[in-house]
Assembly symmetry: C2
């Protein structure tokens, strides 16, 4: 284990540590961040009200809207000078969400991921080929900093150039691949085409994340790559990948509980649910200098377990995410909200703001189609004009979401409405649940 | 200055420091790396022959071919366990070139770039928007590590999503942009479209590199962004960006001479040239644990100056790169060799291995067209088959080089040959010199 003391700490001691950290986090947030000060004062709850861990339930939730209201730097608890790195989740209506890091935050991020990579059976001898994208998205960097901390070798190859990925895997003796399940499956196909024999390659582990997955997808990945595949969970708002990582038991993701306090709530009522009950995951940063996030509604649906794991770790385990309590969809590892599509469409004239997002996975890669109703005048107009509008819509959506989509222009009022006149915005045909 | 002692060191002391470091580098290379041991033994030159800096001329040059012969890890002077990060320049015929880093190497890389960012007038208060790509390419990471070392805020946004770049620039209060000249010019156009007023934005500096440029391009960039633009030079084999960076005098790039020993040679004869003479830059790592590169022929054409700069620094200055002594071309910041195109074409049947690379810059972005002669049978065949072959060629070239190209299939023997039957492989119409 990377940090045996923490990872096998008796539950009582974990709770004690968490309470101490929670108290100081709430106090710092209240004292340093006007937004929390106002929010908590209005809710009539104050740092001194946190006397037990359960008292966290007195604190109001935080949502993406709160973070957006603080755009860009209103959630910082430190001077901007102390911030050394900024990431951002993709924007929805209005502004994206910003995530800042001090040097200590970056160090802690590395610590958490190093711990998780160790859970996956890796050490400083390993060669980690990281196909997650680097950029404002935190996927690439989390693994990067974790690998540095572990002292392993990181190949920061990022996504794409798949044949080159395969060549490097074979030539460099990669022992661990990091990918999103859908890219991994594609990578496996190409590797087979190129004649890679995974029995000989000697992969020790695969880390996959940033996308919803099924047991069948994991089976297919493990079968293809002839090694075990471990899920990595995280989100930019709280830090990035590494919030939870699976151990060799593959029986849920161990949450780094000295850095994050997890709760499960009923997404409709906000009521806290007991161990093993399914609901929405709520997370709290217990040690983050830059930007303490308290009771953030992740919208991810899962359940928590607190019994000691077969691997000996006492850290809580979360189940695989089985859905969302909002309408976010993840396509090719990228989070997309209908509101982003809406924002893009509003910039284009000659169309109606009526659309539908259809996600499919014809074989192994996600595809996304945006159906948009043309205006009556455009629809009767010439093809060339329609093609230009289509192209423009595609461009604006790609600028907004970062991914390429197929656009279909359809006749006015041709997308079916419910009896209340509403369009079902997202049709996800991937069968992920 | 970031490190005044080094940056203003009297030339005599610099030479003394360089000699000591060179001696230990050559000894380590000879003792630890069989390839050097053999090469130097065959050339009948040994570590003890390096008694003065000029004695470096006794050592044979290193080229990409040497590095390729050592693919993947034959140039490492340390155990693979000590390597924490691997980068790679794009492959040409055969194998790509690998560059490895220990923790100390990464720290030194950060040090060098922090020094350069300071030359550009930046400090820990600044917000650096880094549009260089992250990945095996070293462009993104060099600036990233330098910004961390400086304690500035890095926005690792990477290339693309240009409208979002503009939004973030305005919202986050970016004070420094890092880009390739061609992407910078495009970013400037989009920013203008979006109504950004650069007089108000308050950029303090621009760092540009990874591409050849002209004085006119710099003028256009400075005019657009209303701030000074500084050139950053480097190459993956030696470390990455940061080998040389311009100071406020904008009169050449200061080479980090405590880490790199520069020479200028006549590319035809290999003879060392005097201060101010134009020729090919040859670089030697003076302090690199992982992979000491000694007398590497960069193929970049420039000249060196050793007089004290207006800024007070005594570090040698190199002029802007004005050309290549080989046929490498840089398109959109990516290095491309005809041999890569060749490698890709060899994988496709139904075509002749006769091709021509045509690079243009219709407005501000580079475009690259690959003309390939179809086989006689294909050329008389149906359009559908030709389209499929074209697509395949495009895919293989993108896998090889990482960039999208336009492919034209032309009739057999339609590309003009010289009297000796040779095809001019590269036609660069960008007028960069």
């Amino acid at each position: 284990m990377w940090n045996e003391e923490i990872e096998t700490m008796p539950r009582e001691d974990i709770y004690e540590l968490q309470l101490k950290k929670l108290q100081s986090t709430v106090k710092r947030a209240f004292d340093k961040i006007p937004y929390y000060n106002k929010k908590y004062s209005e809710a009539n709850v104050f740092p001194e009200d946190i006397e037990t861990l359960e008292d966290i339930e007195k604190l109001p939730f935080l949502t993406k809207d709160d973070l957006r209201a603080c755009y860009p730097f209103g959630m910082f608890a430190v001077d901007k000078k102390e911030i050394i790195e900024v990431h951002s989740s993709s924007g929805t209506t209005g502004k994206p969400v910003v995530s800042g890091y001090t040097q200590n935050d970056i160090d802690n991020w590395g610590e958490i991921v190093a711990r998780g990579l160790t859970m996956m059976g890796l050490d400083s001898d390993d060669i980690i080929q990281n196909t997650h994208g680097y950029g404002l998205f935190t996927g690439g960097f989390g693994v990067h900093y974790g690998a540095h901390r572990l002292g392993a070798t990181i190949i920061p190859i990022s996504t794409g150039q798949t044949r080159r990925q395969v060549e490097i895997m074979a030539d460099f003796g990669t022992t661990c691949l990091i990918f999103t399940p859908s890219y991994g499956i594609y990578l496996g196909e190409v590797a087979k085409e190129e004649g890679i024999d995974f029995d000989k390659l000697g992969l020790k582990a695969i880390g996959f994340g940033a996308e919803m997955w099924t047991a069948e997808m994991r089976d297919r990945i493990e079968e293809t790559f002839k090694t075990k595949a471990y899920n990595i969970y995280g989100l930019t708002e709280l830090m990035g990948p590494g919030v939870g990582i699976e151990c060799s038991a593959q029986n849920g993701l161990h949450i780094a509980e000295d850095f994050f306090y997890p709760e499960i709530i009923n997404p409709k009522t906000g009521e806290t649910l007991a161990e093993g009950k399914h609901g929405e995951l709520v997370l709290t940063n217990l040690e983050r200098e830059s930007m303490p996030i308290i009771r953030f509604r992740t919208k991810d649906l899962t359940a928590l377990h607190y019994d000691t794991c077969k691997c000996g770790r006492t850290l809580a385990r979360m189940e695989r995410i089985t859905g969302r309590s909002d309408d976010m969809i993840k396509v090719k590892g990228v989070a997309i909200f209908p509101s982003q599509i809406e924002k893009a469409l509003l910039k284009v004239s000659n169309i109606e703001p009526h659309y539908q997002i259809i996600v499919t996975r014809p074989d192994i890669m996600d595809e996304i189609e945006i159906k948009v109703e043309a205006s009556a005048s455009l629809f009767s107009d010439d093809i060339k004009e329609m093609m230009a509008v289509k192209r423009k819509i595609g461009e604006y959506i790609q600028n907004e979401t970062g991914i390429a989509v197929n656009v279909s222009l359809v006749a006015p009022k041709s997308i079916p409405r419910s009896t209340k006149g509403k369009i079902q915005r997202v049709i996800d045909k991937r069968n992920l649940h």
